[in-house]
Structure formats: C-alpha cells, structure tokens
C-alpha cells in the first residue's frame, strides 16, 4: 500500500515541465475552443507534434515509433492531456486500441505499412464496429465482405465511426460467412478510408462530438488489410473489447500511477466538473457573497468531491459503470446549483466557468452508452466477476 507523493527526480521534473510547455504550445485554449466547437475528436497538428516526439505511444520503444519513456513519464504525457480535457479520441483510446489490435492480429506487411505512420501522428485510425442495427448486440453485423482472389469486396454501412472524417483507416467487422452462426461468420478488416466506394457522413451528438455514418459500397481492399483469421472476427473484436474495458490507454496495460488517470478518461471529465463547480463557488457575487459559504453549496461540492475521490480508488472493472453514474448524477446536480445562467453554453457571455458544467452535463449522457452500454457492462460484471449465471439476453452473444 502506498499513496505517498511521487518522488520525482530533477530530471523527471524537468521532463514534466517540458510536457507542460509542449501542451501550452500545441494544445492552446484556442485549439481547445475550436475542437470543442467542431467536435472532431482529433487535433491533427497536435497528433503530429506528439508523433514527432514519439508521444503517440510514449511508453513504446523508440524502434517502434515510441519514446521509450518509463511508465511515470509516459503517464505524465497523458496526465497533462487529461487535465486539459484534450481532444477526445486520443484521450479515450480508439486509436490505441486499433493500433494494439493491428499489432496483435495484423500481418507483418500490414504492421510495417501502417504503424510507423500512426506513431508519427500522420495516420489516424477509427473504430468501425457499430451498425444501425448492431449496437449492444455487436455481433449482429450485416456488412458483407466477399473474397475475390487476393482482394475483398466490402459492402455495408457502419455508424458511430467517430473520427472517420480525419482518419486514414477504420477497423471494420464484416460478415464473410452468412451461413455460419452469428458469431462465427465474421472477419475483421482495417479498411483504408480513401478507397473507392467509401463515403463518410457526419452525425452530430448531444455532447458536441461529431461522429459518422460510413458507407462501404463495393469497396475493394487487399487481403493484407485482414486482421486475424477469416471467421475469427468476433475473437479479434472481443480482444479489443477486453482492452477497451480494462486497460488505461497508452501506458500499455500498466495500472495508472496517478489517480487522475482512470479508465476511459471519464475520470478526467469528472475532475473537470468538480474543479469548475469549486471555481464557481468561490467567485463572489455582485453583493460580495460567495456560494462556497452556503450550506447547500458546500454539501453538494462535498458530494461531488467524494465521488471524484471514490472513482479514483475504485478498481478497474467497476469504475466505468460507477463513473458514468456519478458523472450523470453530479453534472445534473451541480448545473442545478448554479441556477439560471447554467443554461448558457461555452462561448456565450455570462456562461458560468466558461460553460464547462453545461457541456459536461450533456457529455455525461453519452458515457453510459459509448463503448458498450453500462447495461451490457453490468451483465458482464455480474457474470465474470460475481459469478452469476449469464443473463438470458446475452446468451447468444458468445454462443
């Protein structure tokens, strides 16, 4: 058991300063503001600047395009991005998960073709599992892939391919054997989004993030882009689900060493929420009074601070469900607390704390959905951690 302040060497302190300076330059308020307005999920210039330092995969060896940082320094790179609530896709992981999947399941040829560019920040990749009729039931894929010599022809439609408008690739499940059982007829591909027949159409979300429909109309790709065996798409997807659900991003599976880092980066959003509320509470009103001196405000800040601390110590599998519930509850309550001006969004004059509370209140609703709903998560925890018998609704999920 150890909760002591980290002992940082002078070198590490200097590195930390460098990280801060880096973000001051490459993740400015203006860029955050623009990102918030447009909701792209990536800031390409930031990605390139990180790539130039090996910080896309900070803990990876230099030979693999990383920076070879020790776990602490690698965490500091992420920590400072979380503190700034940077662009959501690097924060919340898809690109790392796709890269991890390519690393495990891609051919050497594909890895050589793709990964160096990812590490340089030049190549961006997206998740493309979900279809209009395959959300929680992720294996209900209708997109088809038909073999044609050394190529595959892909036809179908995906949605929630977040970041596709900026990405070079999307990881796509497709049905290659329509006669096999639901989970056995799938194959995974990494589809180049500049291929002919790909069309990306944006969808806006309540949280302000842009996501996309991606239409695949007879898209021809080389077999090189296959990830894993033909028919093994569900196993490949499941292993990336496992990564998605249990691993902090980028640090390669290490436990987060700073409490602010926690799964899915939502913990950082919870922290930003509490910080914003505390800031609001300390600002004097026109009559000189401060909300922080009122019991109703103090109790609610204490509740939210308790939630934040609790989420920082709650172990992996539970924290996603708990953090989502805490975000939804606390964002609603803290926005109530500020009263009428709480209706003003970021960028509008008079918005309390720059509209942060209002934004997080909207954003929070998505946290019970993204990456598999919290209902599905609870099913999995009940079965895998509590040992309860499998819920009937997911009987067919892995049959």
């Amino acid at each position: 058991m150890d909760f002591a302040p980290l002992e940082l060497s002078a070198d590490t302190h200097a590195f930390w300063d460098e990280v801060r300076a880096f973000y001051s330059e490459h993740l400015t308020e203006e860029m955050l503001e623009k990102e918030h307005r447009e909701g792209n999920g990536f800031i390409p210039s930031l990605q390139l600047a990180m790539g130039a330092r090996g910080w896309v995969f900070p803990g990876f060896p230099v030979e693999e395009g990383g920076a070879g940082l020790d776990p602490l320094r690698a965490s500091l790179v992420e920590y400072e991005m979380h503190r700034r609530v940077g662009p959501l896709l690097p924060l919340f992981g898809p690109i790392h998960l796709v890269a991890a999947t390519v690393r495990v399941f891609g051919s050497d040829e594909l890895k050589a073709h793709v990964l160096p560019g990812v590490a340089r920040g030049e190549v961006l990749m997206a998740f493309g599992y979900t279809e209009p009729d395959a959300g929680s039931d992720a294996a209900a894929v209708k997109t088809r892939a038909v073999r044609d010599g050394s190529e595959w022809v892909i036809t179908g439609q995906k949605m929630f391919t977040t970041g596709a408008q900026l990405c070079q690739y999307s990881m796509v499940t497709a049905r290659t054997d329509p006669d096999a059982p639901k989970h056995r007829g799938l194959t995974m591909f990494l589809v180049p989004l500049d291929a002919e027949g790909v069309e990306v159409r944006g969808i806006e979300t309540l949280g302000g993030e842009r996501t996309n429909f991606v239409f695949y109309d007879g898209v021809r790709i080389s077999d090189m882009y296959r990830l894993g065996d033909v028919g093994a798409g569900w196993q490949v997807a499941s292993s990336s689900f496992a990564v998605e659900h249990h691993m902090p991003n980028g640090t390669g599976g290490l436990e987060p060493i700073v409490p602010r880092l926690n799964e899915f980066g939502w913990y950082g959003v919870l922290g930003a929420l509490v910080d914003a509320a505390v800031e609001w509470a300390h600002a004097p009103r026109s009559d000189g009074s401060r909300p922080i001196d009122e019991p109703r405000v103090r109790d609610r800040l204490a509740e939210a601070a308790l939630d934040r601390e609790l989420m920082s110590v709650t172990p992996g599998p539970y924290v996603r469900v708990s953090t989502s519930a805490a975000l939804i509850r606390d964002a609603a309550d803290l926005l109530d607390m500020v009263g009428p001006t709480g209706v003003l969004p970021r960028g509008e004059e008079g918005a309390p704390v720059g509209g942060t509370l209002e934004w997080i209140h909207r954003f929070a609703q998505g946290t019970s959905i993204y990456g598999g709903t919290t209902d599905i998560q609870r099913n999995l925890i009940a079965e895998q951690l509590l040992g309860l018998p499998r819920h009937r609704g997911v009987l067919d999920r892995r049959s």
């Binding site: 959300g135 979300t205 026109s286 109530d336 709480g342 209706v343 509008e348 959905i369």
Partner: protein
C-alpha cells in the same frame, strides 16, 4: 394540506376540460410538428405559430372577462401548457400568459397592452426573479417580448426598451434575453408598488412555475412515449430491447413519476384556482417534481435509445435540453425545498439555533 383534513381526490376532467385538452393536443400535433420545432432553433420562436395561437385566444383566455379574457383558470391553462410541452411548441406561451395575468391585476394603466397581446401585436414576458439595477437576469420569452414585467426594488414595472433585444444561445433553445432594469435603454412604467405588488409578483412567479411544471409534464410524457416506442421496435440479441429489465424497469419508474407529476400539477392548479391560500406548497412541489420527472424521463430516454439517442438526429435531445433549461430558469430546483418547508412549517427561527 391540513393534517387531518379530508378532501376529495378526483382527477377526472369535465367534458369542457376534455375538449380543451383534445383540441390543443390536435392543434399542437398539427401545427408544431418536430421539423417546425427544429427549424425554429436556436431562437425557439415561430411567429406564425404564435399568431395561430393568438387566433385561438389562448394567450389571454386566462384573463378576467373584464380585462378581455375568458376567465379561464390555471387548470385550463395547465392542460394547454402540457400539450404545448408535449410538442415543444416554439412559442412563449407560459411567459406571456403569466405576465399578462399579472398586468391584469394591476389596474388600468396596462389596458392597451392587454388588448395588444390579445390582438397578437405585442407580447410581454415575466422576469421571474426580483430585479435590481446593475444586475442582469435572464428572462424567459424576453427575446421575443415587447415588454418585460418585473419587480424592481419594491415596484412592479413594465419595461420597454429602445433597442432590439438580443437572445443568448442557450441549451433550451428558448427565446431568452438579458434584462437589467438599470440599462439606459430601458423605460420603466410603474404599475404597482409596495407589499401588494410584491405579493402579486410572487403569485405570478408561482403561476409561471406551475405552468412550467405542466409544460415539463408534457415533455416528460413525450420523452417516455418516444422511449417506449423505441424499446418496442429496436431488436437486440434477437428480441425487442423492451424485454430486458434493465430497459423496461427504468421506463416503468419514469411512467410513475410522470403520472404523479401530472396529478400534482393538476391538483396545485385546482387549489390555486379555488383555494389560493392552500396552494403554494402544492405549487412548489409540483414544480420541483416536474423538473425531476422531466430530467429523469429524458435521461432515461437517451439511454434507452443508446447511441442513436445521443445523436442530434434523435428528437430525444430536443426534450432533454429543454427539460434542463426549464428546470434552471427559476433558479436551483433544490432551493424549492426551502420554499416547501416555509409553507408547511413556517419560516425558520434561526435565532433559536444560534448557539449551536
């Protein structure tokens, strides 16, 4: 609310009330379809729809007959407001109704305004917090109002401004405006003052909250209906998702909360119409619970619809955003608890607790 008092507990509607409700259910279904609601964003106002509403007489039906109205009560207004909420009608119905009713109680200085409101040539809105020069507040409906009724340092005033109002963007897409009675562009006409003015103002704010509660009930019902329909239609794992308790049970809880909210609003409106001295606690309860029920209904609605529910393509987000803004404009909803306690138990006597 007296403890051992026996009251009737009859929520049935009269034939006239049923007709009113059905008429405005049809009216808003026809005239406020969701694409019209969307195209009225971000301001949240559709002038043509307002004029159609004026032609039904609704904005002034709650005025006394001698002030140009039909003498309709809050029960009737609540029935209409619920239907407007169900269809998210982009019109400042509740602000105009409550401000006009307040003006009608303030003598003859405002007669021409009431006539103009009835004719659809002017609109008024209510500043729902006591005002002070130098302190701007957000006024619901104010961005499309020709005058704002507010309580400024012991006076009830009707304010008009020489410059067009600007409406800040807001999550509810409501036609809000900033209003500061000390702004040099404002002309203030005093219409009442002193304790009676304050009492009238407090009544009007409560009426505004009550009719907001009714609007929220409509929103909550609509969100529930959308979610239930989705849960029937959407198939996952081979069955409609409504077969899963994780989907179905929260919807049952929402349904209970919405039904309760509707009845609370009706009962509060009835008490305000018939026994106003008994009404305040019930009105505050109705408001607070409606805020909660609508937020619960729309948040559960988004979750029920999953990824789709979180996109702007889903209508659920229209309800979600408005439910929150309606809950915020009166101030922290939880502060209503203090008001409820004041009405039920009398004001606190903190001097007794000074030594603790």
């Amino acid at each position: 609310m007296a403890d051992a008092e026996l009251r009737n507990n009859d929520f049935s509607l009269s034939d006239d009330q049923e007709t009113l409700r059905a008429t405005f259910a049809s009216f808003f279904e026809r005239e406020s379809p969701i694409d019209r609601v969307r195209s009225a964003e971000p301001l949240g106002f559709d002038e043509k729809l307002w004029q159609q509403l004026v032609s039904t007489g609704v904005p002034t039906m709650g005025l006394p007959p001698d002030r140009g109205g039909d003498g309709a009560g809050l029960v009737e207004l609540a029935l209409v407001a619920e239907q407007a909420g169900y269809r998210l009608a982009p019109v400042p119905l509740v602000p105009v109704v409550t401000a006009a009713r307040l003006l009608a109680r303030c003598g003859n200085a405002t007669t021409e305004w009431l006539a103009a409101i009835a004719a659809g040539t002017r609109r008024v809105a209510l500043a729902v917090h006591p005002a002070r020069a130098g302190e701007a507040q957000l006024v619901p409906g104010g961005a499309v109002a020709d005058g704002i009724v507010g309580f400024v340092e012991n006076h009830l005033v009707l304010a008009t401004r020489s410059e067009p109002a600007s409406g800040p963007r807001n999550i509810g897409s409501e036609p809000l405006t900033w209003w500061d009675p000390g702004d040099p562009h404002e002309s203030l006409l005093e219409v009442a003052s002193g304790a009676p003015a304050r009492a009238s103002f407090d009544d009007a704010c409560r009426e505004w909250r009550l009719l907001s509660a009714a609007t929220l009930v409509g929103m909550a019902q609509a969100a529930l209906d959308l979610a239930v329909q989705y849960a029937k239609d959407r198939v996952a794992f081979g069955v409609p998702i409504g077969t899963f308790q994780a989907i179905a049970h929260p919807l049952v809880d929402v349904a209970g909360a919405v039904q309760g909210a509707r009845h609370l609003a009706w009962k509060a409106a009835w008490l305000a119409d018939h026994e106003p001295e008994q009404a305040p606690a019930e009105m505050e309860m109705a408001y607070l619970h409606s805020c909660r029920a609508a937020q619960q209904a729309t948040a559960v609605g988004i979750h029920t619809q999953g990824g789709f529910g979180f996109t702007l393509e889903s209508d659920m987000q229209l309800y979600f955003r408005r439910a929150k803004s309606a809950a915020l404009l009166a101030g922290d909803p939880r502060a209503r608890l203090a008001a409820i306690a004041d009405h039920l138990y009398g004001p606190a006597q903190p001097e007794l607790t000074g030594q603790r």
